[in-house]
């Protein structure tokens, strides 16, 4: 198996793996195709049934029209009553085939029993009803009893959804109601816009009132032809009136036939879109709730009429109620279903057969493609897996060559290492001497630190002295303040002197007066008072002189007191300033003291740190000595390493051979997948030779290695 490489093996495996699922797929698909064909066939038949049901619908409508056209007599009345009784029992959801049959039989009996019926039309009716029975039973089984499966169920769901959506749409729309006679005259119109809830109500209310209006218009108004909304439609339907539901937001109107059976149509056949929409909007009229509503509202008066006799029900109301019931019969879910399903099934049968053929072709083609792809994938994976390993082997081959060189280099490097260790020893010695120098430096720094400590203590003492001096200055300032008080006292004394001078002035004035009086007396004395007059004059002169002196004194005192006051005020200011500045100085000195304390602490820390450093250096010194011894050991180890590198060199060659073998396994003998088998034999021969060579070389080299190892061991032991 060594002939095939890894890649060829993988390709084969993937090819086999692709064939297996393809064959399985084909087997299972065969059944699937069968199933599909069968189902499609069934669907087709169902669709045919439904189209038949559509026919029934038409026939049923015609037959009821026939019934309504018959004249009313007592017997018909009673027959209709029994009919309505049976209808009352019917729930549209749970109607069964048997019930339908029963209804049919009863209807037939009733018609046969009635005497005044138009006998020409009866056979047609009976025929139609029997046809109805046969076909509708098939569909009703399927649809109403809930046994439907597959496409029918799907359609049921679709119809439900459409019903709901339409109700939503039309519930939100508003519309006007117009009633038009057969001749096209509008005889009723509601100006109100009604929503759907109101509409259902109003339909109940409107029907009798419409009838009244219709009757009156028949007599009073000959009628104008109604042309705007498609007269052709009216042309066909005779003896009927219409209820028009006109939507303001839609492009068409709804027409409801009022007298007789009820139909619905659009008048504005402007485009196909409106037509289609009309088809959908019929769904609203046949929605379940609406049907139930109408049935009950119409049946209630009928049942009461049957129970109580002819008491409260007029002919007109009876007719309208019966008309409503006929509407119910006509507008059944079956009709809508038929239309929908028929459309679907017709298209679907062709489509499905086409699809099946396509599918078959696709499976075959895809199978072939899968096989090819899986083969390619196998090849690709093989390549992806093997190529990195091959490259890896190449790399290994290269690296073994380099390995040899490297082991040689290691030997060389180990020698260099021993040299460098001796150099390292020298370096360590030099570092030891450097460390000694460092210790000397540290002792010097210690001395410096001590000096700085002394300096700081000195400066602290000086600052203390400065604070003492400041205190002394403050005291001196206070003394100056004291002297100021003394100056104030002097001022007071001067004031007193001033007062005294005033006294002197008064005395002077008195003496002057005395002198005047004396001189007067002297004059009176005549010649005897001559001397006295002189004396008096002298006294007056002296008094005036003393007065002048006193005045001068007062002037001097005033000026001096002013000066004293100035001096005192100046002193006060200066002293207060001095006090402030000295206090500031004190503060500054305190700060200085604190900072000096901090400095001394810091210096202490520095001292401690330098001490620790010196011890650290001693430790490192010891460590250096130890390192010296270790480097010597290192040099010894380097020698040993060199010897071991030699062994490594020999070992690498053996490794190279092992790699060659690995390469052979991966790539085959040829070394590649693409090479032809012709070359294989030659390769085999070559390979054998190679193996032999490798074996011999390996043996010899291993012996050599053993020898060298022994030698080394001997050396170790000797040393």
């Amino acid at each position: 198996m060594k002939i095939f490489g890894l890649r060829s093996k993988l390709v084969m495996a993937f090819f086999l793996a692709a064939i297996l699922p393809f064959s399985l797929l084909g087997y299972f698909n065969f059944d699937l195709f069968k199933d599909l064909f069968n189902k499609n066939e069934k669907l087709n038949t169902k669709a045919q049934h439904l189209s038949a049901a559509n026919n029934i619908q038409n026939i049923l409508g015609e037959s009821f029209q026939v019934i309504t056209k018959l004249e009313y007599n007592e017997k018909i009345k009673s027959n209709l009553a029994s009919l309505s009784k049976t209808i009352e029992k019917i729930d549209i959801d749970s109607i069964s085939e048997n019930q339908l049959k029963e209804i049919r039989k009863k209807l037939v009996n009733k018609f046969e029993q009635s005497e005044n019926v138009d006998r020409d039309k009866l056979p047609e009716v009976i025929k139609n009803l029997t046809q109805l029975d046969n076909i509708s039973s098939i569909i009703l089984n399927d649809y109403f009893l809930g046994e439907s499966k597959g496409p029918l169920k799907e359609i049921k769901n679709i119809s439900k959804n459409i019903d709901d959506e339409l109700q939503k749409i039309i519930l939100s729309e508003e519309f006007n109601v117009y009633a038009i006679s057969k001749t096209g005259r509008i005889f009723y119109s509601s100006q109100k816009r009604l929503d759907l809830g109101q509409k259902i109500q109003s339909l109940k209310e409107i029907t009798p009132s419409l009838y009244e209006a219709f009757k009156s218009s028949k007599k009073a108004l000959p009628g104008v032809r109604f042309s705007k909304w498609g007269k052709h439609h009216f042309h066909e339907q005779k003896n009927t009136s219409y209820l028009i539901l006109k939507y303001p937001n839609l492009p068409f109107s709804l027409f409801l036939e009022v007298n007789g059976s009820m139909i619905y149509d659009s008048i504005n056949f402007d485009n196909k879109q409106s037509e289609n929409f009309l088809l959908d909007s019929q769904m609203r009229l046949i929605s379940k709730s609406y049907l139930n509503d109408i049935t009950h509202s119409s049946l209630a008066p009928l049942t009461s009429f049957i129970k109580d006799g002819e008491q409260n029900l007029s002919e007109e109301s009876l007719v309208t109620n019966i008309a409503n019931l006929t509407v119910l019969r006509k507008v059944s879910p079956i009709k809508f279903l038929n239309e929908k399903l028929f459309l679907v099934s017709e298209n679907r049968y062709d489509k499905v057969t086409l699809l099946i053929k396509k599918y078959r072709d696709q499976i075959i083609i895809s199978g072939i493609i899968l096989m090819v792809v899986s083969c390619l994938f196998g090849f690709f994976i093989g390549k992806v897996l093997s190529s990195p390993v091959l490259s890896f082997v190449k790399g290994l081959r290269k690296s073994t060559g380099q390995f040899k060189n490297i082991s040689g280099e290691i030997e060389h490097a180990s020698q260099k290492l021993s040299e460098s260790t001796t150099e390292q020893g020298a370096a360590i010695e030099s570092t030891v001497t450097n460390l000694d120098e460092m210790t000397a430096m540290l002792t010097q720094t210690e001395v410096n630190v001590r000096q700085t400590i002394d300096m700081t203590t000195l400066s602290r003492e000086q600052s203390a002295e400065a604070t003492y001096a400041l205190d002394a200055m403050l005291e001196a300032m206070e003394e100056i303040e004291g002297s100021n008080i003394k100056l104030a006292e002097i001022e007071n004394l001067m004031d007193k002197i001033h007062e005294k001078t005033e006294v002197i002035n008064e005395i002077v004035a008195e003496t002057r007066l005395l002198s005047f009086n004396a001189s007067i007396e002297a004059a009176r004395a005549g010649s005897h008072g001559k001397g006295f007059a002189v004396v008096a004059e002298e006294i007056g002169k002296l008094a005036s002189m003393s007065g002048k002196a006193a005045e001068e004194i007062t002037n001097l005192i005033e000026s001096s007191t002013g000066q004293v006051k100035q001096v005192v005020s100046l002193n006060k200011d200066k002293v207060s300033q001095g006090k402030d500045t000295s206090k500031d100085c004190e503060l500054v000195f305190k700060h200085l003291n604190n900072s000096l304390l901090n400095i001394s602490k810091a210096i202490d820390k520095i001292n401690m740190a330098s001490m620790e450093q010196s011890t650290g250096i001693q430790h490192t010194n010891k460590a250096m000595v130890e390192m010296e011894s270790i480097t010597q050991q290192n040099s010894d180890n380097a020698g040993l390493l060199a010897s071991k590198a030699g062994i490594l060199n020999t070992e690498s060659e053996t490794f190279n051979k092992v790699i060659e073998e690995l390469n052979l396994f991966l790539d085959g003998a040829s070394g590649g997948f693409s090479k032809l088998s012709l070359f294989r034999k030659r390769n085999k021969v070559e390979k054998k030779a190679l193996y032999e060579k490798v074996d011999t070389s390996y043996d010899s080299e291993s012996k050599n290695i053993e020898k060298t190892v022994d030698r080394d061991d001997d050396k170790w032991n000797a040393s």
């Binding site: 007066l513 001189s519 004059e537």
Partner: protein, 160 residues
């Protein structure tokens, strides 16, 4: 020295020529010493009702009631309130009257040759009591007779 000589030469005439010089509103007036009884300091007067403005009132001078006339008001001069004032007691024929003046300056000799008895003046008071103008250096002194200065009307009011 000259003063001493003057004093030595005092005679009977000298005594007649001696005048008391006083001041009213910084104008100088002279009164013969012989007309004057006494000079006293200004003392508060007790006012007497229903009298003229210049009649200040009465004072008690050593037991004698003496009427006082404000000469400043009499002469229509402004009153300088700073000056304390002096009262000159004048002896008339009937009674003694006090005259209030601003200040008394001194006692001076004014000789007859120094007096102009009839100057061409327009005076604001009666010429009856105007004796003349004494010239002493640069100073001019109005010499008046105080006893005549006080009119008969005044006297009547007083006597009553």
């Amino acid at each position: 020295m000259s003063e001493n000589n003057a004093q030595a030469q005092l005679s009977q005439d000298d005594i007649n020529n001696r005048y008391l010089v006083f001041e009213i509103n910084s104008e100088l007036f002279g009164v013969s010493l012989l007309d004057i009884k006494e000079v006293i300091k200004n003392t508060p007067c007790k006012p007497v009702p229903y009298m003229k403005d210049y009649f200040l009132g009465i004072i008690n001078l050593r037991g004698r009631i003496i009427s006082v006339i404000d000469l400043r008001l009499k002469f229509n001069k402004e009153i300088n309130k700073e000056k304390q004032g002096f009262i000159i007691i004048v002896e008339t024929e009937e009674t003694q009257v006090g005259v209030l003046v601003d200040d008394i300056v001194n006692v001076q000799n004014i000789y007859k040759d120094e007096i102009d008895t009839n100057p061409h003046l327009e005076l604001d008071f009666s010429k009856q009591f105007f004796l003349g103008v004494g010239k002493k250096g640069e100073n001019l002194i109005n010499l008046i007779d105080l006893s005549k200065c006080i009119t008969k009307e005044d006297m009547r009011t007083i006597s009553k």
